[in-house]
Amino acid sequence: MALDVLVASLVAGLLIGMVLALVALGLTIIFGVMDIVNFAHGEFLMVGMYTGLLVAQGARMEPLLTLPLAAMVGFVLGWLCYFLFVKFLLRGPMVAQLLGTFGLMLFLRNLALLFFGSEDRAIHHGLLVGKSISLGMGVSVPATKLAAAFLAVSAFAAVWLLINRTKVGKALQATALNAQGARYMGIPTDRMNGLAWGIGGATVTIAGALLVNFWAVNPYVGLLFTMLAFTIVALGGFGSVPGAFLAGLVVGLITEIPGIWDSLSLALDWRWMMDVPMTSFKYTWVYLAYFIIMLARPKGLFGWKR
C-alpha cells in the first residue's frame, strides 16, 4: 500500500527533475562562461511557457510542436539581452550585475502582466492530454510528463554535444576557462558571451514550453523556478553541465519528499504525522537544501571553477 506511493513519488520526482535540469542548464552555462548570475532566468522560462501556450492555443497546434519556435524565441531573447544590456553590466561591480539582472526580471515579469493579465493559464488540448502510461505496481504517470521528461533529456543531450563535440562548443569552453587567453587565440569572446546567453535562453524556453503542458503559467511563476535553478546549479557546481543534470534529478526528488510524507501519513493513518502537513513546505526544502549545500561544499558536487 505504502510502497506504490513511494515509487510513484520517486518516479514523479525524477520526471520533473529531468525538466528542471534543462531549466538549470542555461543558468549554469551563463555562469560558467562569464561569472554572472542571471536573476531573470525564471522569467525566460515564463516567456517560453507563454510562447508554448499562445502558439498552441492560437494555432490549435499540438503543444509539443511549439518547441522549435520557443527555442527560437528564447535564443533571440537571450542574444538581445546580452548585446543590449548585460554586456554593459559586465564592466560594473557585482552589485550592479545582481541588481541589473534583477531589473531585467522585473521588466519581463511586468511586461507579461501588462500583456497577459495575472490569471493562471494552462494548455488543455493535445495528443497526450488525459492519457497515462502504467509502469506496473499500480503506478501510472501522465503521458505529458513522460514526454516532457524525454524531450528535456534529449534537449539536454543536444546541448551537451554542442558544447563538447563542436568547434563552437570548444570556443565556448575556452572562453569560460580564460576569457583573456581565448581572446588572444582569436576567439571572439563577446560573441561567445552572446551565444551563451542565446543557448541559455533557448534551453530554458524549451523547458518552459514543455512545462506549460502540465503547469499553469502566470506572470509570477518565474521566481520559483529561478530559485529551483539556483539550487540545482549550486548543488551541481556553478558552471558544470553534467552536474546540473544530476542535481536536477536530486532537486526533483526533494520537491516530492513532502508529498511522500503526506501520503504516507494518510496511508499509515499516523496521527502525529498528519499534524504536520508538509506539502505547504514543498519548496522550503529546496531553499534549505541550497543553504546547506552552499555551507557544506561551496563549489557544489561537480564544481570545477575556483
Partner: protein, 336 residues
Amino acid sequence: MEALRNALDFSDFPRTDLVVAAVVAAVLVAFPLMPYSSFAMATMIQFLMFSIYGMGWNTIGGYGGQVDLGKAQYVGIGAYTTAVMLIRWDVPFWVSMPVGMALAVGWSFVIGYPLFKLKGHYFAIATIATSLVIKDLFEVWDFVGAARGLHISPVKYPPPDFLRLIFKEDVYYYYFLLGFFFLGILIINWFRHSRLGFQLRAIRDNEDLARSLGINVHWAKIKTYALATAFVSAVGSFHAVYIKNIEPEDTMSLDISVLIALMAMLGGAGSLWGPIIGAGILIPLKSYLKEWLGAKAGLIGIDLILYAVIIMLVSAVEPKGIWGLLDRLRRAKRSR
C-alpha cells in the same frame, strides 16, 4: 562621548552639501504645515520608511559591499512582533519595538554566522533563500495568522493612542518617523567614523588584505549585519502600526528586499546621503507612476516596467548611483 562627537561630526562634507542637507531637513520638518493631499503624505511616509531601510542596508551593502537581498525577513519579524504582541497581549508599541529589534538581531546572528562564510553571488542568493524560508514559515503558522495575516483594528484602540502609536491622522506618524530618520542619520554618521565602519570599507575594497591586517572579517560583517537588522526591524514595527494589515506577502516578499537594496544603490551605495537620495527619487516616482499610469489608465504593471527600466539603466550606466554621478561631475569641474 567619543561616539556622540563622531555622530555629530559632519565636517568631512563640503559646505554646499551641508547647506543643501539643512534645507532639505527644514523642508521635511515644515512639510505638514503646508497644504498637502493625503496621497502626498502617504508618499512622504513611504519615503521616510525606505530611507531608513536603505540606511540600514547601506551599512552592510554599501560600506561593506555584501549584497544582501534578504532584508525583508527582518521587516517581517519587526512587523509581526509588534502586531502579535499588541493583538494578543496588548503590549504597547514602545515595548514591542525593542523586543522586535532584539528578536531580529538575535536571528541575524543565528543566520549571519553561516551566511557570511559565503561570498559574492553565493551570499546574495543565500540571503534570498533564508528570507523565503521565513516567509514560507509565516504563511502556514497559525499563531501569526498564516497567509491571512494580522489586522490591527483601530476601533479597538481608539486613536489617538500614543502608547500603542495608533492615530487617525498621518501627521503623527510622519513626525514620529521623521525623528527616527534624523536619529538614523546620526547613527550612520557615527558608524562612518567608527572603527567598525573603517574595517568594513577595508573589507569591501580587499577582503584578504583586510584579514591580513588583523581585522576579524567574519565578526565585523556579523556586527554590521546586526546593526542593519536593527534599523530594518524598527521600521518594520512601525509598518505594523501604520499599515495595520500585515501579511507575509507585503512584508516579506523578495520585492521589498530588492526595493531596499535598490534605494541605496540608486542614490549611491556606501555614502551617507545615498539611500536618502535614492528613496527621495524612487518612492515618489513609483507611487505617482502607479497612480497615473496604473490606476487611472488601467495599465497594470506599467509603473513597475518603467521602474525596472530605471534599475537597468542605473546598473548598466552608472553603478555608483546618483551620488557617484554628482561626485564625477564635481571632480570634472574642479580639474577644469
